[in-house]
Amino acid sequence: MIELNDYLILSGLLFTIGLVGVLRRKNLLMLFFATEVMLNAANIAFAATSHYYNDLSGQMFAFFIIAVAASEVAVGLGLLIVLYKRHGTLDLDNLASMKG
């Protein structure tokens, strides 16, 4: 039998993978993927706990996140394309126009 804990561990592992990706990757596109991984980790946790408590709001939230993630990807990728066109790179070490 797969317990709630197992789902949560999976979610935690996925989240860590995503976090490491966010921290270590230098390419903006990769950062995006890593963020998606983190979001999905959260989705798993939501869906699992929702089932566990028999409360649908968790799954609703998961759908909501999926919707937000989708729109975010749509906008974000558009921005990335513009950024790439302008700078010719998506490497974060070369994109520091906000340096204080």
Binding site: V22, L23, K26, L28, L31, L92, A96, S97, M98, K99
Partner: protein, 635 residues
């Protein structure tokens, strides 16, 4: 009678305002004439009031309006005419009227003629407020008023340049004016303290209420009030150590000196002690009163000693005023208030005369003041010689002139009180007074005509000026005869305690009088022997230590300059440039700079690298989670 009170008080005020209207226009003789007439009106009103008080023995008390009211304090503009104030009013207005008339002639060529009369009348008005007020706050109005008028008048020739103290000990009129004002202010502070003490312990500043409450006060309060008020009096009456301004005040036009020394200003201190006689008569403050007498005696001697060697015509007279004020304080301190007041009045007449005479001499000598450069002036200035001679005789205490009676009474009082040391000093001082007065008279009017080598052509003063001076001369001669009558009059009310000599002293009165007279005559004769035939300078004597000490006023002005003025300026400079600019402001700016630089330093975190930001963010997240975990475990 009330209207006479207001006339006496406000006629000088009207005169001042009237003259001020023409303050910036060129000389107009009628301004002086009208001012003098208004002053004469004031004198007449005062004289009428004096008659009224004399005949009925009653006092007049008027309250014009409220001035300050806050909390439980209520100060009205109230005026009282009683034996003390009416005496002062009459003396002040009489002398002032003469001085006003005199000034028409003396200030003849001055372009600020009108302005001068405005100040002069304001001066008299302040003095009238001072003597007539029925409360301490009103007295203080006049007190400060004479201060500011003296500032205006001493600095009347403000356009003169500062010179070094060696050249002229008073540096410049404006310097002397500031000195007078500031020194007086120091004393005024003490006076204010005295007022505060009396207010918080009696609940009022009205003389009658305060004096009625005195018996219920404890010794500390009484002593504090007595000391504080006396320090106030010391400033106005230029008692040691606040005396330096008085001689420097000679920078003002001579009529001003006459006014300051005879009628207004310096007598205010004596007046205060006389007015507050219920306080000073309290047995609890006996030591303060004795101190007043001792200080007065000391100043009498101290000032007379400096007058012995001075070469400046007006300064000699100024020292003599200082010395005579010492006599008055001696009498007041010993409890003989009416004698002090009598000497004040008599002194006012001959001192004004002396100064006006000195003014005539200055007028004749093109403002030369060094008596070593004069001599033999009696030929061209006969009337002035007579006037100054009479005044000097009165000052020296030669009978039957006014000074003899009043000064002799003071010396007798010192004997009567058993204060033999004071008595002895006062007697010696009487001899010194006679000597320096006649040294001055002889050097100025007798002997060889030393002025000739300076190309000066002396001339007598205008006739009307000489005529105007005659009442003073007359009074200087006869005022002494009224001693008995004055005593009866002044002590008839309840504002002034009587003072009479004991039986014992009464028996000795002839002997005592003869001793004083011997000293006085001796002084005159010595002066005649040394100076009547001409100036013989003895360089050995002039170079001696004592001569130099006296000539430099015991180095008191130098001491003040070195140990008060200069350190004050230096500390002020340090306060500004070091404490304010360096310490305080740098600290404030330092805090601002610290905040700015800490922002500047932490700005480096803002690398612009998204990766870095994310690292920081997750670091922060973890840190917060740890904090939350720890706090949940602890809490």
């Amino acid at each position: 009678m009330e209207k006479f009170v207001y006339i006496a008080l406000f006629a000088p005020f009207v005169s001042s305002i009237f003259a001020a209207l023409f303050g910036m226009s060129p000389k107009k003789t009628f301004v002086g004439v009208i001012a003098s007439l208004l002053l004469a009106t004031s004198f007449l009103a005062s004289a009428l009031l004096a008659m009224f008080v004399y005949q009925t023995g009653g006092t007049i008390h008027v309250t014009m309006m409220d001035w300050i009211g806050a909390g439980d304090l209520s100060i009205p503009f109230g005026f009282v005419v009683d034996q003390i104030s009416v005496t002062m009013m009459t003396v002040v207005t009489l002398v002032s009227t003469v001085v006003h008339i005199y000034s028409i002639g003396y200030m003849d060529h001055d372009k600020s003629f009108n302005r001068f009369f405005s100040y002069l009348s304001a001066f008299v008005f302040s003095m009238m407020v001072l003597v007539m007020s029925d409360n301490f706050a009103g007295l203080f109005i006049g007190w400060e008023g004479v201060g500011v008028c003296s500032w205006l008048l001493i600095g009347f020739w403000y356009h003169k340049e500062d010179v070094s103290p060696e050249e002229n000990p008073s540096i410049s009129p404006s310097w002397a004016a500031n000195e007078a004002f500031i020194v007086n202010r120091i004393a005024d502070l003490a006076m204010l303290v005295g007022i505060f003490v009396l207010y918080w312990n009696t609940g009022s500043l009205q003389y009658d209420v305060v004096f009625a409450n005195l018996p219920y006060l404890n010794q500390t309060v009484l002593t504090t009030a007595a000391i504080a008020l006396f320090i106030g009096a010391m400033g106005k009456s230029a008692q040691f150590p606040l005396h330096t301004w008085l001689t420097d005040a000679m920078e003002g036009p001579t009529p001003v000196s006459a006014l300051i020394h005879a009628a207004t200003m310096v007598t205010a201190g004596v007046f205060l002690v006389i007015r507050a006689n219920p306080l000073y008569s309290m047995p609890e403050v006996g030591e303060v009163s004795y101190f007043i007498a001792a200080l007065g005696t000391f100043v009498a001697f101290f000032a007379a000693s400096m007058a012995l060697v001075n070469r400046d015509l007006k300064r000699i007279i100024a020292y003599s005023t200082l010395s005579q004020l010492g006599y008055m304080f001696a009498a007041a301190g010993l409890g003989a208030y009416w004698i002090a007041l009598f000497h004040l009045a008599a002194h006012a007449f001959f001192k004004a005369l002396l100064f006006l005479g000195a003014g005539n001499v200055m007028h004749a000598m093109d403002d030369e003041l060094d008596i070593f450069k004069m001599g033999g002036l009696k030929k061209s200035m006969r009337w002035t010689y007579i006037y100054m001679g009479v005044a000097s005789l009165a000052l020296a205490g030669i009978p039957p002139l006014a000074g003899f009676f009043s000064k002799d009474a003071i010396i007798e009082t010192a004997f009567n009180e058993g204060t033999i040391v004071l008595w002895a000093i006062l007697v010696v001082t009487a001899g010194m007074t006679a000597f320096y007065s006649f040294r001055q008279v002889f050097l100025t009017f007798e002997g060889d005509e030393r002025y000739k080598e300076f190309g000066i052509h002396p001339h007598e003063m205008y006739k009307y000026v000489l005529v105007a001076m005659s009442p003073l001369a007359l009074l200087a001669v006869i005022a002494g005869f009224f001693q008995g009558g004055f005593q009866t009059f002044i002590t008839s009310g309840d504002v002034m305690p009587n003072y009479a000599m004991s039986e014992h002293t009464h028996h000795l009165v002839w002997i005592l009088g003869s001793i004083v007279l011997a000293f006085a005559v001796g002084g005159v004769l010595l002066a005649r022997y040394k100076y009547a035939s001409g100036l013989k300078r003895e360089m050995k004597c002039e170079n001696s230590f004592i001569y130099q000490l006296l000539k430099n006023q015991y180095y008191v002005p130098q001491f003040y300059a070195e140990f008060i003025s200069k350190p004050y300026a230096m500390i002020s400079e340090k306060m500004w440039k070091t404490v304010d600019m360096k310490i305080i402001d740098i600290t404030v700016d330092g805090i601002a700079k610290f905040i700015y630089s800490s922002g500047d330093d932490t700005r480096k975190m803002q690398t612009g690298n998204l990766s870095n930001y994310l690292n920081w963010m997750s670091f922060g997240l973890v840190a917060l989670l740890i904090v939350a975990a720890i706090s949940s475990v602890i809490g």
